[in-house]
Amino acid sequence: MVSKICTGNYSAAYGSMRSRVRTVAAYPITPQTFIVEHISEFVNNGEMDCEYIEVESEHSAMSACVSASASGVRTFTATSSQGLALMHEILPIASGMRLPVVMAVVNRAIASPINIWVEHNDIMPERDSGWMQVFCDNNQEVLDMVLQAYRIAEDRRVSLPMTVCLDAFILSHTVEPVDLIEQADADRFVPRYKPTGPILDPDDVNAVGVFTPPDYVMECRWQTDKAMRSAVEVIGEVNAAFAKQFGRDHGGLIDPYMVDDADAVLITMGTASSTAHEVVDDMRAEGKKVGLVKLRFWRPYPMTEMRAIAEKVKAVGVFDRAVSFGVGGPSFIEFKSAVFGIDLPVLNFIGGLGGRDVSLADIRYMYDKLLDAAKTGEVRRDVTWVGTRGVSQ
């Protein structure tokens, strides 16, 4: 085992190398830039046997990945924020063609105002793109999930693209000790790439992506929907296989902590989870029954798991680092839809936008409100903006 101090960006780049990616097409954007720089170095040092395409935009990056993948080659890319928005048109094409492209997304605020710090509003418009999306909480998880992503995405039952999300700067630029998986171990975990569907091959004439009239499209959509539902099972299997081989269990769709006997739980995505974890420990020491649900997979969404939690606890809080304007946080909206018909207070907290710190005190404030709601069973205000000047403390 080689443990090294490295950034989340290094983890992502390293993961793509260890997964034996053969084509990378990417374009730099803060805070993702180091990923493309690291990959360029791996390639130029002969450590990574890969065609690195220095495309002129993210739109072309995703286009080149789609076509390379459709030609039967394992591909990787990475982007963030504005770059992801520019790719938007091509994302559903990757999933519609059932191509297992893997992409690291360093979540950064979307303009305007232009800002380079963490926020999840960049990826929310991609919710319905047909991509699986996992949010990471530390740099080890970033590396491990890149490897897992290929196994999940390339599984015959799934055959869908996947993003591995990491919070801007908090992970992308912060160093942590990471077990840098060795090639032989990675090879045992990520099998050689075998395309699951028809590909573009000079020796076997196929067409990929033709114009399709109404007679046939519904069935394509149904198959993609089915694949996304099948992914639930595959994600569990891959996580178990990974835990068995590497001794690290990151959880499946969710990673619950102290939930079983909790009165109130908070749902978080990305690095706010670590902060909340600490608050749970502090408050448990004070005898307060609080728990945490780290929402790892945004797609497929843990419908069943969330219902089970709602049936167990007295109040649920959802922390969103994003907002659907005029309504509330996207994760909150999703949770409410998942637990439809189960009667309990569900509070939404919006915070940490544009890179604003989410402090221990912020999280404690959320838990205090949740414990109140658990006691009274009454909901006063659904959506609370946390740490917003002129609005809240």
Binding site: R22, T23, A25, E51, I53, E54, V55, E56, S57, H59, S60, A61, S63, A64, C65, V66, S67, A68, S69, A70, S71, G72, V73, T75, E89, I90, I93, L200, D201, P202, D204, V205, N206, A207, V208, G209, V210, F211, T212, P213, Y216
Partner: protein
């Protein structure tokens, strides 16, 4: 290769749904005969996609790929690099797009791929408007032409800008091969595709392909009109091979009015507008000739 020596085998077969007299269909049928079966095709949104590849039918007898509208060169890049990885880089990767998909929305990806000297042949079939969406103007539409977005109105009629000089833009990228061709000069067309096929790196051919539906001309006159474009100087046939520019055919300098006459899209043009176009043609030819002289 002579026209009569082209293989009988059709790699872009009958049964496609192009309009009668479609210049693009003539170009694709013939260029595929030259390029042969070891070719893979990327094709964006445009008429050709619809008339050649609407599920469950396919006119193409080679691997065919469509992704979106503006990314032909980027997709061809992905395919080309993938073939390199797989050790199949003897296969020719051809991106083929319309003038809109090339000169307008696709120019960024095209410029990027050219600058990187990606190993591909990029073909623009130039029917001088967005035909698939119903004849809207493009950067490649000539001055004066009626389109549905340059309609003949009471205060303005036809396109007020001149045609974008894409071949020149591509030559400025210093790629191995740039050529213009025409369905009116099929022998020259065959020679240029043969040459492109024999080379490596980034190659660009822009083919002049009249569109009877959009240009409002007799469906039997596609080839005749394509010839007139060359004779009048509206379309220069030339090529640039590793930077050396050669004029393929000198225009006769037939008055531009002869070219405009059989096409409904120019019918409304005033004498003054015809003169502006004639002046533009004279200047363009002069510039093309000088350019060829200084790139020897």
């Amino acid at each position: 290769m002579k026209l009569k020596d082209l293989p009988d085998e059709e790699l872009f077969t009958r049964g496609h749904t192009a309009c009668a007299g479609c210049g693009a269909a003539i170009a694709v049928r013939n260029l595929m005969k030259v390029l042969g079966p070891n070719t893979m095709v990327v094709n964006p949104a445009c008429c050709l996609l619809i008339f050649g590849a609407t599920y469950p039918y396919l006119a193409w007898k080679v691997p065919f790929h469509h992704v979106a509208f503006e990314n032909t060169a980027a997709c061809a890049t992905g395919m080309s690099r993938a073939m390199k990885v797989l050790g199949k880089d003897e296969t020719l990767i051809m991106g083929i797009a319309g003038d809109g998909g090339t000169a307008d929305i696709g120019i960024q990806a095209l410029s990027g791929a050219a600058e990187r000297n990606e190993n591909m042949l990029y073909v623009m079939y130039d029917n001088e408007a967005y035909m698939n969406t119903g004849i809207q103007r493009s950067g490649s539409t000539p001055f004066g032409a009626w389109t549905t977005t340059t309609p003949v109105g009471k205060v303005k009629a036809g396109k007020s800008n001149f045609k974008k000089d894409m071949p020149l833009i591509m030559m400025a990228h210093n790629v191995p091969y740039v050529a213009t061709a025409s369905v009116g000069h099929i022998q020259d067309f065959i020679r240029k595709f043969e040459k492109a096929k024999s080379m490596k790196g980034f190659r660009y051919i822009q083919v002049f392909t009249p569109c009877p539906t959009g240009w409002r001309h007799d469906t039997a006159k596609t080839v005749e009109i394509a010839k007139l474009a060359v004779d009048t100087g509206m379309w220069t046939l030339y090529e640039s091979e590793n930077g050396k520019v050669t004029i393929s055919k000198k225009p006769k300098m037939t008055p531009v009015a002869e070219y405009l006459k059989p096409q409904g899209r120019f019918r409304h043009m005033s004498e003054e507008d015809v003169k502006s176009l004639q002046d533009w043609v004279m200047k363009k030819w002069e510039a093309d000739e000088k350019y060829a002289q200084c790139r020897q």
